[in-house]
Structures are given as C-alpha cells and as structure tokens.
Symmetry: C2
Subunit: 330 residues, 2 copies
C-alpha cells in the first residue's frame, strides 16, 4: 500500500506531463496549420501571374473578349465601327465610353436597328477625360479586353489572330501599333516610332511599347490602373494624352519584361478622314509628340526608374493572307 | 485509502490513454512529414520545366550555344560552313559528328589553319547513322544547341535573332524550316509543307513541326531522346530519316504544346549544288517524303497517339533588314 502511495505522485506527474505535452503538440499543430493557411496569400502579392489563369485550349467555356471603345465627337465613325466590330469572332460584349458630355447616347437608334450579335453598353461619362476608358467597368466579364480607338478599323482576320496570340501571352499588351523610347546621353528620354534612331542593340530596330488604342490586354490591368500614384492621373488629365504610355509602364513594372507583343496587321485603317464632325483626333495637335516625350520622363520620375524594356519580336500569321508567305527561296 | 484505490484504475487508464494519444499524434506527424518530403519528387517527373532554368537577362555568364553539325560525304561543304559558323556571336563550341566511317578527320588541316574563334570537336562515329547527331555528347556544355545540316548556311543575323527568340521559348524547337502533318478521313496522317491543304482551323496555314536541321533547342532534349522506346531508334535506323520528326514528337509530348516556333529567315542558303562530292543529300531520294509520312504514322503507333500540335505564329525581326519592315500603310 505504501508502494502504491509512493507511485501516486509519479503517476500524477506523469499525467500532468503527458497532458501538458499533448496540449503543446496540439497548439503547435494549430499554429502550423494557421501559418500554412496564411503563407500563400502573403506570397501572392497583388500582382498575380495571369498566365496560370488563362488556359485557352480545351477549357470549359470558349475564351472571349470585351471591346472597350471610347468616343468623342465622332459618332458617325463610332456607328460605322460598331457595325464592324459587333461581328468579330469571340467578342463577348462592347462597352462604349461616351465622352460626349451632355449629349444623348444613340441607344434608341441602336435598339431600333437590332437585333445585334452582342450586347453594347453605353457608359455615360461626366467629364471628358482620356483616362475614362481605363475604368474597371462592372459590365466587364471577360479576362481579355480589346481596346480600340474610335477611328481605327482592324480586320476580323487580324483581330482573330491577335486574340489567339494574346492567349499565349496573356500578361502582355498584344497589339498592332509599336512605339519606342530612346535614351540620350543627357539621361533625358525621347518618344517616337521607327524614324527615331534604334536603341542600338545590334541589327534592326526595337520597340518598348504597344499602344492600347488597338490592342488586347488582360482586364486585371484595369484594376491595377486604379492603384497607381495620383501623379499619374494628374499627368494624364493635364495632357489629355499618355494614358497608353502609363499603361505600358504599369505592365512593364508588373511583368519585368517588355510590356508589349507586336502583331503586324495585314489590314488596319485610320478612318479619321471619313468623319463629318471635322474633328480629327488628339494626335494632330502640334504638341502631341513632345507631350509624349514629356510623359515618358515624368513617369520615370514618378516611378523612380525606367521600367520599359525593348523587344524586336514581330509576329505575323503563318500562311496568311498569302498561303506561302513563309516561303524562303533557298 | 480505498478512495485512492478506486481512482487508481482511472488514473492508470488516463495515463495509458494519454500515452496512446501521444503516440498516435507523433506517428501521424511522422507520416505527414514523410509524405511532404516525398510529394515534390513524385510531381517532378523526369521532364523538368526548363523555362525556370533559362534566365538569359542579367545572369552571371552570358548565354551561349553549341553547334552540332553532322557530316557525310561533303567535307568541302563542311569546311566552308565551319568558316562561317565558327564566327557566329554567342557560339561556345562546335561538335562535328563525323559520319565518314573509316575516313580520317581533317583535324591536322584544321589545326594548321588556326587559331580559331571557338573549339571544334570532331566526333568519329563507328556506324553511319542519321541519329548519331542526337547523342548527349560529353563535350556539350551549354543549355542551348544549334543543330545545322551540313549543306545549310544561315546568316549570322538570322542566327543571333533566332537565338534570342529561343531564350524566350527555351522548351521549344526554334528554327527556320516549318513542316506540317495533316489528318485524313481514314485516320492516316500525311506529311508535307504548305502545298498540302491547311489543317483547316480558319484562315491561313498551320505548322506542327520545326525541322532540327536548322534550329535551336534545349540540350536536355538530347538526354530525353536517349530514353525513347527502342522502336523509335529502329524506325530512324530503318529509314535513315525522320530523326527530326521523332524529336518533334518528343518535344510535343514533353510540353503538351506545339513543338516548334518558326522564325522566318532572311538569308538561308542550301549549298548542296556547291559540293564536289556529287552527293546531294538524303532528301533527294525518291521515297523521301513518303518515308516521312510513314514515320508520322509509325510514331503515332509507337506513342499511341498524335502529340503534335498546330501553330500559326511566324516570328520576324522588327526593323530588320528593312528598318521600316513593320510599317503599315493606314
């Protein structure tokens, strides 16, 4: 009996020790589980890799895109273009950004001429701003956006091909109009097209931007555009220009790669001259190009660095329009 | 005292239960730990994603490639081509696969005409086999391989550009000669170039192979080629043909994507007519193309499926040779 009593304290300690160990282990497991649940969301910063999300081949729903077209003072061109773009393959919806402040949208006329292949939404704006088109519209349901200027017509063939290319490069701006910046010994940047000197990496030329006025890009970039420094919005509003340069900066910063992929268009047309409005577009302003060089330098200042990268990749469609366009005489 | 005795069984059970629970928890932790350690190696099958390995920009050593050129009965062309290829930018080494069985390699003459820009290694073969060039040579130190036929000259500009493209598509065969297969209602496949009907996905043509006789690809594919079914080697040996079709099957199976990326060459030349040997290359044999269709069907049989996928991406160099070659009249 004394023997048992002597062991009692041992067994009591034993139980307490065991219970304590058990509690410690359970607490550790809970902490580990909590950490595991937290880790992915810390890693996945606000800049997801959209390549994983976009898998075009053989997924449940066919991939489609939303056309966003901003319009100002060229309703005749808009309607002409809507008749063309409403019939592009894989188009989900059209969002018209109506910068004609105070003017009625042509919704009645549009409806009276229905039915239409896809829904068209007119977004009435309160202020005539260039960056109105860069809103994350609630009507936007697709991952892909096609942004077009309201004076540009690109053939269905070009769009279908460029859309297939975008699906292979979903985190790039895939479009038809390449531009570049160059650095000068003074450290000041200049903006232009091929007539500017090449950046000097060897043979041929390079581009560092693809303009969004005729391009596909991921809708996530519209969300990201909302999170830029105020100074960027101020710059775009001040110049009524450069929203596309700002978007290229944003994409380059996001990917660490060249922002755009240039697809050489077969049939792209500028319909400016066809308008009855007499309005011929912002790029005819005398200061337009100087403004864009100014914007490049301001953005470098705002972002404290030059994120744009060069590319010399030019993509064309194999065997189209000439079925032997890839043939080389050896 | 009886009170204590009555509680003893409870405390004993308590201890046993606690100890049992503790042991179970520890065992579960060990099993979980073991599973975690095992999982990654099960996922990483023998086909690593080489995209992660190849990061050309800003890494420690500049990226370079190894030229592998197989030669048979055209030593005059070989030497002419060696003078050209030895000076290509980013070339690390040349491996000449010497299929002239029993004939002395021109090493003495080569050395007497030194120094040379890069090392050239002559690999003497014991049997004249088409697939000799697909060995994983110990002298091969680079991740990139440039494979050239011994009668093909591609300009340095084209090679420098295609090499830069390969670095952006390291798991593809990036080259200058596209080919396709088509299916027929009977289920039998046929092999050809653009003169064959298009696979019918819309406008334009498609290619499903890029020939390795003028292309860059990852050296890891040579290692993978060693691990193919015997029937593949037998097929290549039987036809002395189709090693390139087999490589395209291999790459397509590895990536699940189109095997090749076609870069349109500006200056590619076939030097067959320039040889004094009178030997004009395997592709002149009457049965050459029929053999290749035969190979496509045999390989589908061996691999129990058709892994080749179509692409219509054609890549050219922006602003080269014509600095405005991307300009479109709008």
């Amino acid at each position: 009996r004394y023997f048992h009593f002597c062991k009692l304290p041992g067994r009591v300690l034993g139980i307490r020790l065991l219970r304590f160990t058990l509690v410690v282990i359970i607490v550790l497991l809970l902490v580990a589980g909590a950490l595991t649940a937290l880790l992915p969301s810390v890693k996945d910063d606000k800049m997801p890799n959209w390549r994983r999300e976009t898998k075009p081949q053989g997924q449940s729903a066919p991939v489609s895109f939303t056309l966003i077209m901003q319009t100002y003072n060229r309703t005749d061109l808009l309607l002409k273009l809507l008749n063309h773009y409403q019939a592009i393959p894989h188009l989900h919806k059209v969002i018209v950004v109506w910068n004609n402040i105070g003017e009625k949208i042509p919704e009645e006329m549009w409806n009276s001429l229905g039915p239409h292949p896809v829904p068209v939404v007119f977004k009435v704006q309160t202020v005539n701003r260039m960056r109105n088109r860069l809103q994350n519209f609630p009507e936007l349901e697709t991952k892909a956006v096609l942004m077009m200027d309201d004076d540009t017509l690109v053939s269905a063939h070009d769009l279908a091909f460029a859309f297939s290319v975008w699906q292979q490069f979903p985190d790039h701006i895939v479009g038809f109009v390449p531009r570049k910046h160059i650095s000068t010994p003074s450290g000041v940047y200049s903006y232009g097209s091929f007539e500017l000197q090449s950046p000097g990496f060897g043979n041929g030329d390079q581009y560092s931007m693809v303009l969004i006025g005729a391009a596909f890009f991921h809708s996530g970039y519209l969300e990201e555009f909302r999170r830029q420094p105020e100074a960027v919005y101020a710059l775009i509003d001040e110049t009524q220009n450069c929203d596309d340069i700002a978007m290229n900066f944003l994409v380059a910063r996001h990917t660490g790669k060249p922002s755009g992929v240039f697809v050489k268009p077969v049939d792209i047309r500028n319909l400016e001259k066809d308008t009855n409005s007499g309005y011929s577009g912002m790029w005819h302003r005398a200061e337009h190009l100087l403004q864009r060089s100014y914007c490049v330098n301001k953005l470098v200042n705002i972002y404290d660095g030059m994120p744009l990268k060069y590319s010399n990749i030019m993509i064309s469609q194999f065997g189209f329009p000439n079925y032997a366009n890839h043939k080389t005489k050896m």
